[in-house]
Amino acid sequence: MAPSTLSAAFLIARKDLAIEFRTRTAFFSAAVFALLGIVIFYFAWDPTAVASIDLAPGVLWAIFTFSGLLGLQRSFGIEQADRAIDALLGAPITRESIYLGKAMANLVFVAAVQVIAIPAVQLFYGVPLLENAALLALIALLAAIGLVAVGTLFSAMAVNTKLAEMLLPVLSLPFFVPVVIPAAQATARLIAGRPGSEIVGWLKLLVAFDIVFVAACTLAFPFTIEE
C-alpha cells in the first residue's frame, strides 16, 4: 500500500538525515563556515565604532542564509549520484511528499546550524540572545521555514542546470531578503529589550511568507522533476 504524502515525506526526511548523520560532511562544513563567518564579520567592523549589539542580528542572519545555502546545495545533489532520484520518482509516493521530505530534512539541518551559531554569537559578541530563548527560537523557526521552502525548490531546479550549485545563490538570495529583514529586525528589537509589540509585525510578515511560499513551492515542485 502506498504511504500517505506526509508519512512518505517523513521517510524521505529520515533517509536524508541518516545519510547526513553518518557522513556529517555538510553539517560540519556548514557549522565551521558559520563560526568562521561570525569571527570574520566581527573584524570587518571597527568594534570601537560599531556596538556589537547593533552588529549581531545582521551577522546572525547573514550567516544563516549562507550556511543554509551550503546544506541546500546538497539536498538534491546527493540524489544525482547513480541517478538515485529516479528511484525516488519510481516509488509509489506523490511528488509533493518528495519535496516535503527534502524540506523537512533541510529544516533540521538549518536548525542544527542555528543551535551552534546562536550561542556562538552570544559568546563572541557578548549580546543577550539567549535571555529570550523562546522568542528567539520562534523567530529562527519561522525564518528557517521560509528559507528552506524556497531553497529546497531551487535546489531541485539548480541541479538540473548547466551551472548547478552556482545558480542556487543567484536564484535564492532575492527570495531570502523578505525573510532576513524581518528576522534581523525582530532579533535586534529582542536583544535591545524593546516591547513585544514592536516584534509582532515582523513575525506576521514571516508567517505570511511561510504560508505563501510553502504552498506555492509545494505546488510548483512536481513541475521541476523530469518525467
Binding site: 524556497v150 525548490l153 531546479m157 538540473n160 542546470t161 548547466k162 551551472l163 545558480l167 543567484v170 536564484l171 538570495l173 532575492p174 527570495f175 531578503v177 523578505p178 529583514i181 524581518p182 529586525q185 509585525g201 515582523w202 510578515l205 505570511a208 511568507f209 505563501v212 511560499f213 506555492a216 513551492c217 510548483a220 513541475f223 521541476t224 523530469e226 518525467e227
Partner: protein, 237 residues
C-alpha cells in the same frame, strides 16, 4: 509536459518575413513626440526645475516594467497549465524587455535623486524594491541561459516567473517598514491627481509611448525566440 508545443515554432515563423516593422516605427516616433513635448511644451516644476522632467521617463518605464513582469507571471501560469511553447516565448521576451525597462528606471532614478534629494542612492523602499526586481529577473535570464532542454527551460522559467511575482509584495512590505523618501502616490489616488493638467497630459502621452515601445520590443524579441526555436529544432536538439 515534456513534449514540445503542439503549435510548434513554425506557425510563428512565417510572420517574421522581412519588411518594415510598423509597430516599432510608430513606437519610436511616439517616444520622439513624447520627448519633444516633455522638453518644449511642459512647464518646469516650481521647486525642482528641469530635473523634474526625468519623471516623464522614470515613471512610465517603471509602470511598463511592472507590466512586463506581470506578463511573465501570467504566461508562466498559462504555460504550466497548457504547455504551449508560444507562452514561454512571450514570457522570455517580456522578461528581457522588463529588465531593460528596470535598468532605465535604475539609471534615471539616481540622476533625478542627485539634484533633488542630494544623493545618488538611498535605501528607500521603492528603490530597494526596484533593485531587487532587477536581481530577480536577471536571475531569471541567467536560469534560462543555463538550461539546454527546451521544455525544461520553459517549465523552470515559468516557476521562477510565478514565484518572483509572489515575492514582490513581500519585498515591498519588508522594505516599506523602513522609512521611505519617495513621494506618496500623486496620480492614482482617491482624490483628483495633484499634477497640473499639462504635466498629467505629458505623463499620459509618455506612458502610451513607452507602452508602444514595450510592445514593439517584445514583438521583435518574440520573433527572434521563434526563429531560434525553429533553428534548434532543425539542428535536432
Amino acid at each position: 509536459m515534456t513534449s514540445p508545443s503542439s503549435a510548434g515554432p513554425a506557425s510563428g515563423a512565417a510572420k517574421s518575413a522581412g519588411g518594415i516593422d510598423w509597430l516599432f516605427l510608430v513606437a519610436v516616433l511616439a517616444i520622439a513626440a513624447a520627448l519633444a513635448r516633455v522638453i518644449y511644451y511642459t512647464p518646469f516644476e516650481a521647486v525642482q526645475g528641469p530635473a523634474q522632467k526625468i519623471f516623464y521617463l522614470h515613471l512610465p518605464a517603471a509602470l511598463d516594467a511592472f507590466m512586463a513582469f506581470g506578463v511573465v507571471a501570467i504566461s508562466g501560469i498559462a504555460y504550466l497549465w497548457l504547455g504551449d511553447l508560444r507562452l514561454d516565448r512571450a514570457a522570455e521576451s517580456s522578461a528581457e524587455v522588463g529588465v531593460v525597462f528596470t535598468t532605465v528606471v535604475l539609471v534615471t532614478g539616481p540622476l533625478w535623486a542627485r539634484p533633488v534629494w542630494g544623493t545618488w542612492w538611498t535605501w528607500d523602499a521603492r528603490l530597494t524594491l526596484t533593485l531587487f526586481l532587477w536581481f530577480i529577473y536577471v536571475g531569471y535570464l541567467v536560469l534560462r541561459g543555463a538550461i539546454d532542454d527546451r521544455a525544461l527551460r520553459a517549465r523552470y522559467s515559468a516557476i521562477l516567473g510565478i514565484l518572483g511575482s509572489l515575492l514582490i509584495p513581500f519585498i515591498h512590505l519588508s522594505v516599506y517598514l523602513f522609512r521611505t523618501l519617495h513621494p506618496r502616490p500623486i496620480v492614482i489616488k482617491p482624490s483628483a491627481p495633484s499634477l497640473p493638467p499639462e504635466m498629467l497630459t505629458t505623463l499620459v502621452i509618455s506612458f502610451v509611448a513607452f507602452t508602444l515601445f514595450y510592445l514593439a520590443l517584445v514583438r521583435q524579441r518574440y520573433r527572434l525566440a521563434t526563429e531560434r526555436d525553429l533553428l534548434e529544432l532543425e539542428e535536432g536538439r
